[in-house]
Amino acid sequence: MAEMWISMGPQHPMTHGLWTLKVKVDGETITDADPELGYLHRSVEKMGERRKYFMNTTLTDRLCYASSTTWTHNYVLTVEELMNVEVPERAKYIRTIMLELQRLASHLMWAGAYMPDLGHITGALYFWRDRELFLNLLEVPSGSRLLYNYIRIGGVKRDLPDGFVEKTERVFKLFEKRLDEYADLFENSKIFRMRTEDVGNFTAAQAQNLGITGPNMRGCGTKFDLRKNDPYEIYEEIDWAIQTREAGPGYSDCFSRYMVRIDEMKESIRIIRDCFKKMPKGPTLASAIPVRAQGEAFRRTEDSRGEALMYVVGDGTDRPYRWKIKSPMFTTISACPHYLKGYKLADIPAIMGSIDICIGETDK
């Protein structure tokens, strides 16, 4: 049968966000793929160069609307290194709590978006119902439901309100019961497994060579997490472990990538509980925060989707001279021909959904 190119997107149920996937098919089998990005380019980096350092946290919030705290945290961490700001100990703990709550909300957002890809629309409602619990938690200290603008250069905006620990604990107790329900609904469901197992495989070596990081890489069994390997905030003092899964020796499929995220949610709960135990009292914002900066700095953090890196150059004024964002999803989407080849056209939603696409951060 003759080969032909099929264009999926920019408006397609498979694309979470605006991008085009061109696939070359031989009958039903994919022989080549060509991702096209750039539909959602908002020139965030250039906009950041015209705003003061502290104002840019509003832009980083909008890099990925499903995981805004992690991106703001990455920017703030970079600027703090540039300005040599000492962050109070309590602020570090609050940041870690907010980061892990955001990771939970982000993974639930992904799981909810992944289920309609597989034709399981009820699954979306289950996951998004539980995401509300964490959005309500994140809303309490920050004052907003989606774009928090809570982490600031030198600390956090305000201290956690009274009763936050008890409220979080109530949510965790409920959510742990819900995780058991998910096990019945999805992990042990034969239909879900038939759609996801042995589909979209890539090996650990491929992931390393192509720059696939985060849960997608840990789905191959690679023990690599920047929270452990290049620790920031207080992840060193917290008792937790890197979660890995593998579909077979050294490779991942859609199901192992799903399971890694479920395990990470459980681990995030463990991290937050440990944070509440060890959290000291004290100020939440550094007393002297510089406005101008000179030099250059870069920091990488473990975003919900992989390794996020920011590079900021200061020229002595109160605005960054250059600001570069490295998105984990850009490399993962660019590598998609490698893990799409050989599978059927109908597997594309299952494969592309399983890597947790966020176009906001990819196109910037």
Partner: protein
């Protein structure tokens, strides 16, 4: 896959059905998950960032909110203050002395992203964010809120201390200063005074006159940089707080040095 063979008939039909039936009874007979929006509303937390409100008597018109607004949707607009408002205003006596009209913030909510910087950086606590979020309008002009529309009057004013959130304060280069005292006229907190400077100027008539220089009281300086903007001789610049309290001439008036 080894795990695949373990799945039996229970896993395929019974267990998922159990969860579904549980949710079915919960959502049919239990409390609804959603809120019937126009009839009932969810309670936002006290920290909620909704429409802005300005506690009129606390506002000193410094313009920091306009400076920190990332979208530039907040502008300072000149307003007429009544005599009563003039009396009640903080630093009201100074406002009357000013050569131009006092200014208050006006917001275009069509551009506002509710980041809350104007609230956080307000040195007097006049700018607040309410829990009002129903701002939809039928035309764009309806989203532009003039200064008076956000006015809020409080019976008991919370007299917060002035805080310099900008982390910078003005520093004087003595040589170019011409002693025009424009900075004094425009300072919203009245933290500048003019006094004898080190330079003398010879007038055309041959008389020698001392050039007065501004002195800053850094305890109530809020770092709004209004003085830097209005200075005609470019003799002022902003420096971090720690530097400015220990640089040259301007320290003499600063009580923080002691």
């Amino acid at each position: 896959m080894s795990e695949k063979s373990e799945l039996g008939i229970m896993d395929i039909f019974v267990n998922p059905m159990k969860v579904t039936m549980k949710q079915f009874f919960k959502s049919t007979f239990g409390k609804p998950t959603t809120v019937m929006y126009p009839l009932e509303r969810r309670d936002p937390p006290p920290t909620y960032r909704g429409m802005n409100a300005v506690i009129w008597d606390l506002c000193i018109g410094c313009g920091i909110c306009a400076e920190v607004c990332p979208n530039r949707c907040l502008k300072m607009k000149p307003v007429e203050l009544s005599d009563d408002e003039q009396d009640r205003a903080w630093y009201g006596s100074h406002l009357a002395k000013r050569k131009h009209k006092p200014e208050r913030p006006a917001i275009n909510f069509g551009h506002c992203m509710f980041c809350g910087f104007c609230e956080d950086y307000c040195p007097t606590g006049a700018m607040t964010m309410t829990d009002f979020y129903e701002l939809a309008d039928t035309n764009r002009e309806g989203l532009i809120y003039p200064a008076r529309s956000m006015k809020v009057d409080l019976e008991d004013l919370p007299q917060l201390p002035l805080t310099n959130y900008m982390m910078e304060s003005p520093v004087l280069d003595v040589d170019p200063c011409i002693g025009c005292s424009k900075c004094v006229d425009n300072c919203p907190t009245n933290c500048i005074i003019m006094d004898v400077g080190p330079q003398d100027k010879t007038l055309k008539s041959g008389k020698v006159r001392n050039v007065e220089n501004p002195y800053f009281d850094y305890t109530i300086c809020i770092g709004c940089s209004t003085c830097v903007k209005v200075c005609p001789a470019d003799c002022l610049h902003m420096e971090p707080i720690s530097n400015s309290s220990s640089s040259g001439l301007t320290t003499e008036e600063s009580p923080t040095e002691a």
